[in-house]
Amino acid sequence: MRNNKCQYLILFMLIWLVMGIQSVCVKAQDNSSKSSLTNIVLDPYGNPVSNVEIGIKGSDIKTFTKINGTFDLDYKVGDILTYSHKNFMYSESKVSKKDVKEGIQIHLQEKSIKNPSNVPEPYGEIIDKNSYLGSASTIYTDQLTKTMGSTVIPAMVGRISGLNIIQTRGARLHYTSANYNADLAGLIPVFGRRVYSDNSEFSLNARGQAPIVIVDGIQREFYSLDPEAIESISLQKDALSSMFLGMQSSRGALIITTKKPTQGAMNISFTGRYGITTPLQLPKPLNSYQYTYLLNEALTNDGKLPIYSYEDFEKYRSGNSPYTHPDVNWFDELLNNNASTQSYNLNVSGGNNVAQYYVSLGYMNEDGLFITSSKNPYNTNLNYQRYLITSKINVKVTRDFTTNIMLVGRIEDGNQPGGNGSGYADLLNTIFTTPNSAYPITNPDGSWGGNISFTNNLMSQTINSGYIKDNARDILGTVNLNYDFDKLIKGLSIQAIGSITTQSRSATFRTKRSQVFAYKLDSEGNPVYTMYSTPSPQINSFSSVGNYQDMYGQLAINYDRKFGLHGIKASVKGDTRTILNNYDLPEIPSNVMANLSYDFNNKYFVQSTLTESYYNRYATGKRWGTFYAFGLGWDLSKEAFMKSVTWIDQFKLRGIYGLTGNGITNSGYYIWSQTYSYHGAAWYPLGTSQSSGFFTTENQPIANPNITWEKAHKTNVGLDLSLFNSKIQFTADYYNDNYFDLLQSRGKSIELIGASYPDENIGKARWYGGELSLTYQDNISKFNYYITGNWNIVQSKILFMDEQEQPYNYLYQTGKPVGAIFGLVTNGFLSADDIANGYPVIQGFKNIQPGDVKYEDKNGDDVIDEFDRTVIGGNKPLSFFGIDLGVQYNGFEFSMMWQGVYNRDIYLSDRNFTEGFLQINQHYGQAYEHMLNRWIPENAENATLPRLSAGSNNYNYGNGWGTSLWLKSGNFIRLKNINIAYNLPESFTRSYLGNLRVKIFATGQNLFTMSATNLVDPEVSFTNYPIQRNINFGVNVKF
């Protein structure tokens, strides 16, 4: 824990800052309280709330707050005041003596499911929700901050309709590989590598596409943000709302908007939380006795010589010869049962009507599970720390001219054990594959254990191989200028945005390697130590991993005016980016777009956007593309015939059609022109001098002079329903997206050409499905409650992929869903009778025995071959859902959130897990407890696995064609989140804690999982860092 000195310092500084600001704040409060009695209602951030209905319980007296949040009411000590408002939770307060003397000040809590009147837009445009025709799903701070994580992605799981998130890894990958090859001729850059994403743990998918992330208007792979600093995250899936992405509009946009400055007295909010994480579902390895017994069985099955004698078994069973017959559970030895994680955030905002500010400071620290040694003066554990500073200032320079300035600074520090020099993922992989009996951790003389096959001791790799550090530093600055030309032309304004982003990543390797010794007793019983592998001393190498620079500029002319019942909005926008990534030539994507919207009385809506998009890495003359979308909307509830139906607030039908594109990231690096390159690395030594011998080669694949972006015709129709004064909100969407010009390899990619074919714009696929979301929130007196849920279905179909002739129809992929899994169908295990009767088998295998997998001879030709493959999974319409429900009563809050997926298939492909006993040099690898259920003659009926084999058995592995034996249902439902919180009563805190408002809370994440398969975690694949349960406690203080 020595590495945490600095974090205590930071904690101290944060607290100091809070105290300091508080004293200033209290002073300010004192100065301002000289005015006469004022009653005011505020939102959680200190902004006055208008139009709150205030009553005195038990009477008919009622009043509403004014625009500045104040209200006048005759009350006396002991009265109970009630507060109701559409967007805030119902609450009551008891009038105290202090209230009568000083006036009432109350903070209302926002409803759990916020329903603001605007839709978040990338560049801060104000889009009225009533006129929005797209398909968007948005979550806000309160939902986000219920989850703790190093990125904001876990907070989105299950909450955003249409976004399917699967966590494939429990900890981030640390980017340490440099973007160049060390070479004879020096450092040679590797071109065309994209900037590293913040996200290496989750797969995000909306309607079959990975959405583009936009943070405050800037497109970046930027997920590692402080949830406390984020106002909203909005997924916009349709063609019209993603049209601003131009050439990338097919992918949809995930728009992250950070918090904005607020006007009024200084508001300070501090949140601190501390959590304990526990890994979920680590696999259970066989102990040494079981392992060696089964390995002997496997070897005997294969007709190989068994390795262990009965004497050996006895020693493994008794454990009394731990050096020659060890039993080391590497998971237990090298991984802790839990790790800590903590985060702190301070938000300050305020300002007058000329200038407002917002500052956020955040710190996050996440430890990994690897054990550490107190002998090291440095930390070897996996660790991630993030420092994030955001500041925003809005200034109204004149009545017509406003400027917004934002600066974000982020530092990410990673640490990981030295392992074998390449990071924790490899170390973890070795832990998963090394058997318990492989070698003792240390020998009797204290040296590291090992042998000819295992030449790098795992314990040494974990605590005695140094460490690898990585850093990422980001700076992001944006200026947004807005000039209102209302005086010249009513409704006209011009907006200019300029933004710069830089990131630099680097890594420092301080790793070393220790030699290992195989310990043996010779025939006289004397110990013999044999050394394997040479030690290497600690190195100190630095590598520059990435340097990234992004400049963005936008100029927009907006026109927004109402002519009576006719609303017109129009804008013309041009934007351009210049991206520099390491050695690459700059990427310059640019767009010019025109929007036009019209509405009649907020009842009928027409909107259209035309975008001309440019990208400089396509061939000359093929760089500009045209994309467009238009939409129609009709709010039935505004019609005269619906006027009488007062319980319907909104009944909006909407539809969008557009032509979108997916380019840029798949455009390659100038691949439209044939290039040749020079390799100093792959050299063929010349002559007797064995020198130089450099290569110049034609680059592969060969040039595709016609490369262009992929395209899609996207249609989205939807219905928005709002009932009973917005208590019920219902949204339904149906989409039908026809993708074409998908980049694929051509069917006739005949090898005689002597080169590899490039991807060409060939494929066609259809993605279609629907999304439903329903929210109900209400209160029964002081008991506020809500339930919200979303349900989604995604289907796809390959329409064209230039497939070549197949002998059987079931072998065609065309017509099947994208990602359908092909393989042999298994049908139990072969019996002796089957073999005697000539049951079809795969040709060429010499050692087919009873207990081997029985495959279905699909084409009936009495041979099992690749033509017996068929779709074994991945062909059902994927469905996923999230359910979130919660209650609030008198300051007490409870909520829970479930995530579920069904019609999902997973293929277990790791042979270490499915077969075990893989060959590792001259030994065999790990096997897991499910192996005990293998086929043996006595258990032929109930066996779930084929007979054992050592050193891999390709027959039972389906000869590489895949088998349904290892296709498992990936359906699961997880209790992602439980949140319990208590807000100290404002009357109490006002009396005893100054103006503090205090909320204490506890959150549990990944608490419970119901999974269709119990073999592995349904999300995380084998050998990846396990997903974790996180139980955390925290406090939020506002004043």
């Binding site: 934007d575 290569f695 050193g951």
Partner: protein
């Protein structure tokens, strides 16, 4: 581009539109001082530069073509290709590629890519064609002198080397598949129709031979000028040696006398000649004789047998110490062969992984000390309990057996011995390890670096080619046939004997001599990727693999060591396996592509 109609509505401010438009376009068009196409990505004009009289990049391009040559050292999924013949097996337990080859565990769709190259040879042919087509653009001032003493610019020899390598890669295809599509000098593009049919076997042989004959005077000869740069380059000797090999294969039973049977007429001419012609043996014999007469000890003396057989694989670049080398693939200076194949039971810098386990079949093929086959020598009777005593010296140079000296120790390859351990998954299944290609480490303390180049053509093969072809052509072996074998035995250290026949029987019949030549080829060229192809072209693989391959099982008892033979691998060989299957996808995608018989 700008849809400016939208703001046209307000007439009084039309002046704004062009201004804003210009600003927008400026934004978009604002590029900076970078090049519009990456300069570090070369164009063809740069590679074959019209201004570089040194042709630096063009020569680098040729070098990448040399880099396509296969390295046979542990080159087939980590094993020697001959570990898929009857000479050796792999130590690996988990079905290595050579195991799959031996048991026939492959199909057109599930090929063993480490040896069944198809696309990669066409990649090499494309590279060669790019050189052939473009090299003349380079204004070479460098020159070379050919074997006739003519001085020519360097592009002649670069082009000829490319054509030699192209023929070599075609031959790699032909011995695997029979006739294959010949592409001529074409470099195909994305727009070209690649549904090209196979050429007949005869066409392919003719093409390769014609090419080699055409280019021979454009190549350099040994001794190579400026060997520090060109010692690895293809020479006229290499071209003529390759021609000898090609014609020998063409005359061999698999293509000449007994091709694979097929009812399909389309296939028939692709996989061999239409009918047997003994004159093909004559052509093969003539090609070998031309080589011997022109370059051998009686001709220009550029090539001869090396004094020490093992020196061929260790002392490179010295035409005096090692005059035998004709063509090889450059490897590196390392311990890789030793580390991969050295005996188990050592560690540190003596670590060996025992990859290649020679079979008892191969050990049995080695002669007795006097050149007589095992069991037929009266001087040196064979003792099954002392199997390695009084054997052909080549045995000790090829194979490490129990009792051999290695790294200053006496090898214990009996079960449980220091070099054949129990308690791990891997142990030598035959009690043998490969010795060939390794440095002289019998008395060393640990391995050290050696050149491990892969020898492709050497003089021994030409002598064996000559002996074989001539023996097949003549009704009975002539003295020339005897002499070729005798020269090899003499070099091996076998005593001449009283009849000066070095253990050979006098007056052998053609069939007896064939057996001798085949055996001599096996032991002389073990692990050199000859045996694997020889048992195919001789059409004897189906017979050889009928019986299981043997290893030695040595048990240590109180009274000493007990030797007994054990079966180590039951291989499987069907007629169709004489040729590799053409990739299934190639047949499906190309309507003109005909698959080999029975695949």
């Amino acid at each position: 581009m700008l849809n400016s109609n939208i703001i046209m509505k307000s007439k009084q401010n039309i002046w704004m539109i062009p201004i804003v438009g210009i600003v927008l376009l400026f934004f978009v068009a604002c590029t900076d001082s970078y090049e519009s196409f990456p300069v570090e990505q070369f164009t063809k004009d740069y590679v074959f530069s019209k201004t570089d009289s040194m042709g630096v990049q063009a020569r680098n391009f040729l070098n990448s073509l040399y880099g396509m040559l296969d390295n046979g050292h542990n080159g087939v999924g980590g094993d020697y290709l001959d570990a898929a013949s009857d000479d050796a097996i792999s130590i690996k337990q988990n079905e290595p590629d050579v195991y799959k080859l031996a048991v026939g565990q492959y199909s057109a769709n599930n090929r063993i890519s480490s040896t069944m190259g198809w696309g990669k040879y066409y990649e090499a042919i494309r590279k060669a064609n790019i050189i052939i087509k473009n090299i003349d653009a380079v204004p070479f001032k460098l020159t070379f002198v050919n074997i006739n003493g003519e001085v020519k610019p360097l592009n002649y020899t670069i082009k000829a080397e490319a054509r030699f390598l192209r023929a070599y890669f075609y031959f790699e295809l032909v011995k695997r598949y029979g006739g294959v599509p010949l592409l001529g000098d074409s470099i195909y593009n994305l727009e070209d129709n690649m549904e090209i049919p196979r050429n007949s076997f005869a066409d392919c042989i003719d093409y390769m031979v014609r090419e080699l004959d055409t280019i021979k005077y454009d190549l350099r000869s040994v001794t190579m000028p400026d060997p520090s740069v060109y010692a690895h380059a293809a020479t006229i000797e290499a071209a003529m040696a390759l021609k000898s090999r090609i014609l020998l294969y063409a005359a061999s039973p698999l293509f000449n006398e007994k091709p694979i049977t097929t009812d399909n007429n389309a296939q028939k001419l692709l996989i061999g000649y239409e009918s047997y012609d003994i004159e093909r043996w004559k052509k093969a014999a003539d090609a070998a004789k031309y080589f011997i007469d022109t370059f051998g000890p009686t001709g220009k003396k550029t090539v001869d047998l090396a004094k020490n057989q093992m020196g061929v694989f260790l002392s490179f670049y010295s035409t005096t110490a090692n005059p035998e080398l004709i063509f090889f693939r450059q490897g590196g200076m390392d311990k890789s062969v030793e580390t991969n194949n050295g005996p188990l039971g050592f560690s540190g810098n003596s670590l060996g992984n025992g990859r290649t386990n020679p079979t008892q079949n191969l050990v049995d093929a080695f002669l007795m000390k006097d050149g007589k086959p095992r069991g037929e020598s009266t001087l040196y009777p064979y003792d099954p309990q002392k199997p390695y005593d009084n054997r052909d010296p080549r045995l000790g140079l090829t194979i490490l057996y129990n009792g051999a000296n290695w790294l200053g120790r006496v090898l214990e390859t009996y079960r449980g011995g220091a070099n054949n351990p129990t308690g791990t998954g891997e142990y030598t299944k035959t009690s043998y390890y490969m010795r060939k290609f390794m440095g002289n480490f019998a008395n060393a303390t640990e391995y050290s670096n050696n050149y491990h180049h892969w020898v492709i053509l050497r003089y021994t093969e030409i002598l064996l080619n000559y002996a074989e072809a001539l023996n097949e052509y003549l009704p009975a072996p002539s003295q020339d046939v005897y002499n070729a074998i005798i020269s090899l035995r003499k070099r091996a250290g076998i005593p001449a004997g009283s009849d000066k026949l070095y253990g050979l029987k006098a007056n052998m019949t053609k069939e007896e001599m064939r057996k001798v030549i085949q055996n001599e080829r096996r032991i002389e060229m073990a692990f050199e990727e000859q045996r694997y192809w020889d048992i195919r072209r001789w059409r004897i693989a189906e017979d050889i693999f009928k019986t299981p391959l043997k290893g030695m099982n040595i048990i240590k008892t109180l009274s000493g060591l007990n030797y007994s033979e054990v079966d180590v691998l039951t291989a499987n060989f069907e007629e169709k396996q004489y040729l590799y299957p053409i990739p299934y996808s190639e047949v499906i995608k190309n309507r003109n592509m005909v698959q080999n018989p029975k695949w």
